[in-house]
Structures are given as structure tokens and as C-alpha cells.
Amino acid sequence: MEYTEIITESFGTLTINKLRTGLAALGIVIGIGSVIALISLGQATEQSVQNQIQALGSNLLTVIPGAQNSGGVRGAAGGGTTLTLDDAKAIQSSSQITTITNVSPEFSRRTQVTTGKNNTNTQVIGATPTYLQVHKASIGQGAFITQKDVDGMTKVAVVGPQVVSDLFDNSDPIGQTIRISGQTFTIIGETVSKGGTGFQNQDDLVFVPLSTAQKQLFGADYLGSIALEAKSADVMTDAQNEVGYLLLSRHKLKDPTQADFSIFSQQDILNTAASATGTFTTLLSGIAAISLLVGGIGIMNIMLVTVTERTREIGLRKALGAKKRIIITQFLIEAIILTFVGGIIGMVLGILASFIISNLTNSPFVLSLQSILLATLVSAGIGILFGWYPARRAANLQPIEALRYE
């Protein structure tokens, strides 16, 4: 008996009781559907985080005060007072450093910013003109802080689009004034929106000259961080080392374990974020896998019922000369068709679901060939795994007992 014939016959048997076939396949539909949707969503999240971090600059290095953390990036920094403007100048001018093109010393705090009517709590960044270049930011209208502003400790501010909408209801902010910590600043420019809602909203920022922030606003003579632009993304490790050794010697520290600062790249953040979303995806996929398992057991249950119900038919087939192999194949193929068709329907539903969710949440729609292949193989595998026992049971029925069965 040819396999094509067994397959057509199995299709025939399955279409006889459509409701039962549908319900049996439903477990697989849901299982495969949720696996596909979750993997796709996980990958979409990963990609959107990646996009956002990449937008910040893939050749961006950040030096923050505080001890190096062996595991990766230390989250809350800023407590340290070890980084100074002289450190930044040294990085810029040192002959040992060949991989850094721009240095942006910064000092930022979250604080209350008000106009006469509105107020908002936002990040105030003390910056120098190099900030724009290092952070790949640009000015939409007006101008950014100049070296003159920094030298003269002027009270000017550049605001992000979010601040404009919060404080000025999107009217033209140039020339208006805002109050930060009781001091009045004149707005001279507005940055272009960078979009995204990553770890920090790049549009909800207020820039003031670094010197003004340090001395007039927050009373500090140290830096919050130093942002560095490397020549290219390929020299990040070299850059990290060069800057590290320079700062160690400037801080009179002998070996890297004593470092009172940390240097991390966007890649480090990316890795941390990827491992976080990865864990999340794995967890959710695990839950979906359990539903697949339950679906598989459902298939096995239905196949066992089918074997019992068709005992007489099996007996007859064996009496007429069907060998064990044929009976096994017949029932196994029925189970595989069930799970395979269920898997394909589940795949379509899963893709549809992740497409709808990605549209609703404005995240990218990612569809990997990998997950589709996985789902197909897994569903067929479940058919074989859970169809095997009922099929064997059918094949081992004794023809006389099977024929006598009422």
C-alpha cells in the first residue's frame, strides 16, 4: 500500500468527524500560535531596543564615576565625585589617545522646570558644544550652546520637543524664559525629536551650559559623566583601554581593579538589554511550550479514543491482510496530519497576532524563518511522539478480539 494512498485515506477518516478533529487540533493551534507570537514579539522587542540604542550612536563611550562593576554596567551612578573637567580635557588633548575624536563633559540632574503657568520634572544637562556631535543630536531651530556660553556662564537653555509640548503647548519657545531652581534661563534653541521611548526619553531634556549647571545650579565642581565619540565602532575596545589607562594614571591608581570610574559602550548596554529581553522571551516561550505539551496530550487522548472506537475496523483490516506496519503508519499519519494542519493554522494565527500587536504598540514586526521552521518541526514531532503509542496499540490488537469487539 503506497503512502500517498494511506495519506488520502487518513484525510478521509479525519474529515468524517470534523468537530472532533477540529477540537483535537485546537490544542496544537493554540500552542504553536502562542509560540510563534511570543518568539516574534520577543524578537521585535529586542530589535526595537537595539534600534534605539543604535540611534544613540554605536561609537559612543560613556565614562561615569564609581567603581567598575565586573558583571557589566552599574545602574545608578552619579554618586561619585571623581571625574573632573580636567579629566575630560586630558582625554581630548592627550597624545596617548588616538581613537577618540570628540569629548563631551556633562553634568545632569533631574529637577523641576517651570514657566509662569506650567511646570515639568525633567532632566537638566550641563553640556558643551561637542554634545551635539557626540550624541548625534541636532538643532531644529535656534542654536545650541556655544563655547562662549560655557566660558561666560550664561543663563541660556536649549530644550527638547517634549519639554516644548509640556511647557509651551507646542508654541514657539525661542526667546521665552524658563525657571530652573529659581533662576531664569532664556531659551535659544530646540533640538530635533529623536523619538523612541527607550531607557531615557531623548526628547525630554533641557540643556544649559556646563559651567552654569555646575556652579550656578547644582554647586558641584565635578562631572556627572564624560561622553566620548570613538573614531569608529571597530575601535571601541582600544578606546576603552586607552581612556581607562589615562584616567587610572591621572587618578594615581595602580591597577584596573581599583578604578574609581566605569567606562561602558552602547554595546554593553545593548548586551544587558538583550539578555533581559532574551530571558523574558525564553520564559514566555516556556509557558507556550507547556501549552504545546498539553495540546500533544490532547491529540494522544483523541487518537486513543479513535483506536478504541475503530477496534472492529482495525480487526477487519488485519483479517484482510494488513500488516502491523500499515496499521501503525495509518494511525501515525492521522496524528501527524492533525498536528501538522493544527501547526499551520496556529502559525498563521500567531503571525497575525504578532502583526496586530506590533501595529498596536508601534514596535517593529519581525518574522523569523527560524521560528516558522521550529513550529513546523515541533508540530510534526508532537504528532509522531503522541501518535506513536495509540498507533502501536492499534497495530498490536489481535484480529479475533478486535472483530468480536462490540
Binding site: 475496523e313 477487519l316 491482510g321 479475533i400
Partner: protein
């Protein structure tokens, strides 16, 4: 109804030759014991007989006599506890499950009391089923199935499913299915048990015609009326053969 002249002649010749007629069934000292817990039930005890090609044998006995067990053994559906059974040259008691399936497929045509047609399949599909297990091509299967259905008078019911056919018609489909592989032995188990008596006579007529064409038929029944259509009647009781007689007054014989 569907007599083919040469076949009849051949069968007749063989009968005349007497001793040289090939033996289809050679059962010697068959014993079958069923074990239920610690209780042993002897269903068949030291049963020996031979059936030659072209015979029409009825095996008769009351229920519980062991005739069903005998039928299972003769049909290679089961193997004896001891004794030997040679079917058309094959020592059945020595075969594995799959080899038994092969023997049943090639050498035995089953006709069951409850017809045992596949539900929701057409008459053609049902008759073609044993041929599919023998690896015969689909085209040939359909051709042969059609031929045998026409032979049993169902040429106009080829595409009817079993639930669209009467009991007698279903049994005729089953007979066509039994003939499909051109077996050495037609084995019928109470073939008229589920059929209205008016149609039962038709079925028996078909058996007689088949026998006259040269088919060897063994029929199990408890009805003397049905058994009287056979040429030879074996009576069985309590697992033993009590009588083995030639039936001189065979009913409905055409000549």
C-alpha cells in the same frame, strides 16, 4: 447465474480424479486451550480432518461447541495451542503475525456474519481493500473490484456506500471482497445470520454457484437449513468432531 463453462468442466474433472485432488486444509490433532486466570478452558480437543480443493463443507454445532474457535484457526486469525494446520501447503502454526496477515490476504476470503464492511466507503472501495494490502495497482484494483461486484449481481451499486445497501446486498459486497484476491479458501462465518431469510436463499445460491466454479468453501453455521446447502457437513460438539458426513440431499443443486 454466472457459470463459466470451462471452470465447471475443470472442477468436474478434478472430482473424478479422486485421490489426486489437492488438499487445501490439513488439520491434525488441533487443540486450543484458553486460559482465564487459573481456569483452563479446552475449546478444541484433538480435532483432525482434511478438506480437498472444490469441497463445500459446513461446520455445524451448537453455541459453545468450539466451531468459532475452529473457524479462527482455519482462518489463520489465531494459532493452535498444539497440533498442526497446513493451509494450501503453508504450515500456519509456525508463522509470525505479519506472515499470518499475508496468508490471510492471499489464501483466504472471509465472509463474516456482520458483513464487516468499512462504513462510509463505497462497494468498490470495500472490495478493493484486500487488494491494496497486496500491493496491486489502483487501476487494476478498481477493475477487479468492478468485475467481482458484477459477478455477485451488484453491477448497478458500485458507488453505493454500505449504509445504502440492504443486508443481503452488503453480504454480496463482502463475498465479492472475499473473492477479490482469488483465494484458495472461502471461509464464511454464519453468512446468513444477519440477513432476512428471503435474501439468505440468494446468498446460499451464490455460494453454490461459486463452489461449482471450483471454489473451496468452508461455512460455519448452527442452522441445519443453511448447512444443507453444503456437500459435506462436519458436526462438532464440546470441542470434538462427532460426525463427518457426505450430504446426499444437497439443496438447490442445479444439476
Amino acid at each position: 447465474m454466472f457459470l463459466v463453462a470451462e471452470v465447471v468442466e475443470e472442477a468436474g474433472e478434478e472430482c473424478l480424479l479422486g485421490d489426486k485432488v489437492p488438499t487445501i486444509i490439513q488439520a491434525s490433532h488441533l487443540r486450543k486451550v484458553y486460559q482465564t486466570g487459573s481456569v483452563e478452558t479446552v475449546a478444541l480437543d484433538n480435532v483432525s480432518f482434511e478438506i480437498n480443493k472444490g469441497e463445500f463443507v459446513a461446520i455445524m454445532g451448537p453455541s459453545g461447541s468450539g466451531k468459532s474457535t475452529l473457524m479462527h484457526l482455519l482462518g489463520a486469525l489465531d494459532t493452535p495451542s498444539s497440533g498442526s494446520y497446513i493451509l494450501d501447503g503453508e504450515e500456519v502454526e509456525k508463522l509470525s503475525d505479519d506472515q499470518l496477515a499475508d496468508i490471510r490476504n492471499r489464501k483466504i476470503g472471509f465472509i463474516f456474519q456482520a458483513f464487516n464492511l468499512l462504513p462510509r466507503r463505497t462497494a468498490l472501495q470495500n472490495v478493493a481493500l484486500p487488494m491494496s494490502y497486496a500491493g496491486i495497482s489502483k487501476v487494476e484494483r478498481m477493475e477487479r473490484a468492478k468485475k467481482y461486484l458484477e459477478m455477485v449481481g451488484l453491477g448497478d451499486r458500485l458507488e453505493h456506500t454500505s449504509n445504502q445497501l440492504s443486508g443481503g446486498q452488503q453480504q454480496r459486497v463482502a463475498i465479492a471482497r472475499g473473492l477479490a484476491m482469488n483465494p484458495s479458501l472461502l471461509l464464511a462465518d454464519e453468512p446468513t445470520g444477519n440477513i432476512a431469510s428471503s435474501q439468505a436463499e440468494e446468498i446460499m445460491q451464490i455460494f453454490q454457484d461459486l463452489n461449482e466454479e471450483g471454489h473451496t468453501i468452508v461455512m460455519i453455521t448452527h442452522e441445519p437449513d443453511i448447512a444443507s446447502h453444503a456437500k459435506r457437513i462436519i458436526h462438532i460438539k464440546d470441542g470434538k468432531i462427532v460426525e463427518d458426513e457426505r450430504n446426499g440431499k444437497q439443496r438447490n443443486r442445479r444439476f
